[in-house]
C-alpha cells in the first residue's frame, strides 16, 4: 500500500461509523490493491502517483464516500451528526452561561430577585429553543448541500492535499467553526432590526453607542470573509496560499477593529428618551467595563492568532507534505 493510498483510506476511516470502520476499510483496501495489481500487470511497471490519483478519484471525496455508508437520510446525516451534537452542547452551554451572567448582573445592580429567577426559568423555552432551532437549521442546510459541495471540490482536489490522518480533530473543529460563524452572522445581521437580540429585555433602556453603527459594516464584512476562508480550508485544503492570505487578512482586520473598540469609551448607552437614573447609569457603566474586558481578550486572542499563523508559515516548509 503506497503512502498516497494509505492517506486516502485514513481520511475515509475518520468519518466511518466506528462499529464497521475496520471491515469497510479492509474491503476498500482490497479493491484498491486488486485494481493497482491489475493495472501494474497491464503496464508492466509500478503505477505513478498521478495514476494512483486517477484511480482514487473514482472512489469519491473521502467524506462523501464515508457518508454513503451511514444510515439513509436524516435531518442531520451521520457524517455531520457528531459535530452537530458537540456544537449544540457548546451553544446551549454558552447561551446558559451568558444568561446566568445577565441574571447575576441584574441582582448585582439591585434588580428584584424574581426577575433574574424568572429569566432563568424561562430560558429553556425561549433562548434555549431558539438556540436549538438555529443550530439545527444551519446544520441541516449544511448537510443538504455538503455532498454537492464535496463533489465539486473533489474534482480538482489532489489526494496528497488531504489532511493527515491525525487531522480529525482539526476537521471537526473547522465544521464547528463554520456552523458557529454562520449562527453568529445570522444573529449579527438580525440585530439592527431587533436590538432585543443584543440586549435581551434590557433593550427597553439600552442602545448601542455610535461606534456600533460605525463598525457594523466592517465587522460584517470581516465575518463574511472569515467564513469564506473557513469553507476554503474545509473544501480545498490544497489552496494553501488563499488560506494563509485569508487568515492573515481577517486576523489583521480583527486586530484593527479590537484596537479601535478598546479606545472607545462606550459601546453601550442609554436608549433615547430613557431617564438617566443613578441605577441605569451604573448598569451602563458596568456593561461598558465588561465589554472592555471582552475586547481586551479579543485583542489578545487576535494577536496570538497572528503570531501563531506566522509560526505556521515559517515552519510549514519543514512539516508540509
Amino acid at each position: 500500500m503506497t503512502p498516497l493510498i494509505e492517506r486516502y483510506l485514513q481520511n475515509v476511516r475518520l468519518s466511518l461509523p466506528a462499529a464497521r470502520r475496520e471491515d469497510i476499510i479492509r474491503e476498500l483496501a482490497e479493491d484498491i490493491r486488486t485494481q493497482v495489481a491489475d493495472r501494474e500487470e497491464e503496464l508492466g511497471r509500478a503505477l505513478s502517483e498521478d495514476e494512483q490519483e486517477a484511480l482514487l478519484k473514482h472512489f469519491g471525496h473521502p467524506l462523501a464516500l464515508a457518508t454513503r455508508y451511514g444510515p439513509q437520510r436524516h435531518v442531520i446525516g451521520p457524517a455531520l451528526f457528531p459535530v452537530y451534537w458537540m456544537t449544540l452542547k457548546i451553544a446551549l452551554g454558552g447561551a446558559l452561561a451568558v444568561n446566568v451572567a445577565i441574571a447575576i448582573a441584574w441582582l448585582a445592580t439591585g434588580s428584584p430577585a424574581g426577575r433574574a429567577v424568572g429569566h432563568l426559568v424561562t430560558f429553556p423555552f425561549t433562548i434555549g429553543v431558539a438556540t436549538f432551532g438555529w443550530v439545527t437549521l444551519v446544520f441541516a442546510l449544511l448537510d443538504l448541500n455538503l455532498p454537492r459541495l464535496l463533489e465539486h471540490a473533489w474534482a480538482d482536489l489532489k489526494v496528497v492535499a488531504l489532511p493527515r490522518p491525525e487531522g480529525k480533530g482539526r476537521r471537526w473543529t473547522l465544521l464547528a467553526e463554520i456552523v458557529g460563524s454562520s449562527i453568529f452572522l445570522i444573529w449579527w445581521l438580525a440585530i439592527p432590526r431587533s436590538p432585543v437580540l443584543l440586549f435581551g429585555p434590557a433593550a427597553a433602556f439600552l442602545a448601542p453607542a455610535p461606534i456600533f453603527h460605525q463598525l457594523y459594516v466592517p465587522i460584517t464584512a470581516i465575518w463574511l470573509a472569515s467564513l469564506v476562508v473557513l469553507w476554503a480550508v474545509l473544501l480545498r485544503p490544497d489552496w494553501a496560499r488563499v488560506r494563509t492570505f485569508g487568515r492573515f487578512l481577517t486576523d489583521g482586520l480583527s486586530l484593527v477593529l479590537a484596537t479601535i473598540l478598546l479606545r472607545t469609551d462606550a459601546v453601550v448607552q442609554l436608549a433615547p428618551g430613557v431617564e438617566a437614573t443613578d441605577k441605569l447609569v451604573d448598569v451602563v457603566r458596568f456593561i461598558n467595563t465588561q465589554a472592555r474586558i471582552v475586547v481586551l481578550i479579543w485583542l489578545l486572542a487576535a494577536t496570538w492568532q497572528i503570531i501563531y499563523s506566522i509560526y505556521r508559515v515559517v515552519t510549514a516548509s519543514s512539516t508540509d507534505r
Partner: protein, 120 residues
Amino acid sequence: MTPAPDAPNAAETALFENLRLELRRGGLVLAVLGQLRAEHYGYTLRKALAERGLPVDEGTLYPLLRRLESQGLLVSEWREEDKREKRFYRLSPAGERTVRLLVAEWRGLNASIARILEDE
C-alpha cells in the same frame, strides 16, 4: 458560434443529469441484486456489471452492497481466494424472493413505458 436552437441549456442539462441519476439508481439496485444470483466480491462484481454495460463507481457500489446486506437481501463472508482475503456477496433467501418480484415489476414497467413511448 451560436448553439443549435434545440440544444439544451445549462439548467436543462443539470435537470437531465438529476433525472438520469434518479432513473439509474433504481435500476442499479436491481442490476446488483440480479448479478449477485452468482457469488461475487466487489471487484469482480463491478467488472461483471461494466462488461454488461453498467459501469459503477466504487464509491457507489460498496456502500450499496452494505446497505442491501443490512436490509437482509444479501449475505457476505470474508474468504481467501488467490492467497488474498476477499469479501464475497450473494443473495440471501429473502434477496432471491425479492429479486423475483422486482424482475417481474421491472418487466411490467419496461413494457408499459415502451407502449407509452410508442404512442407518441
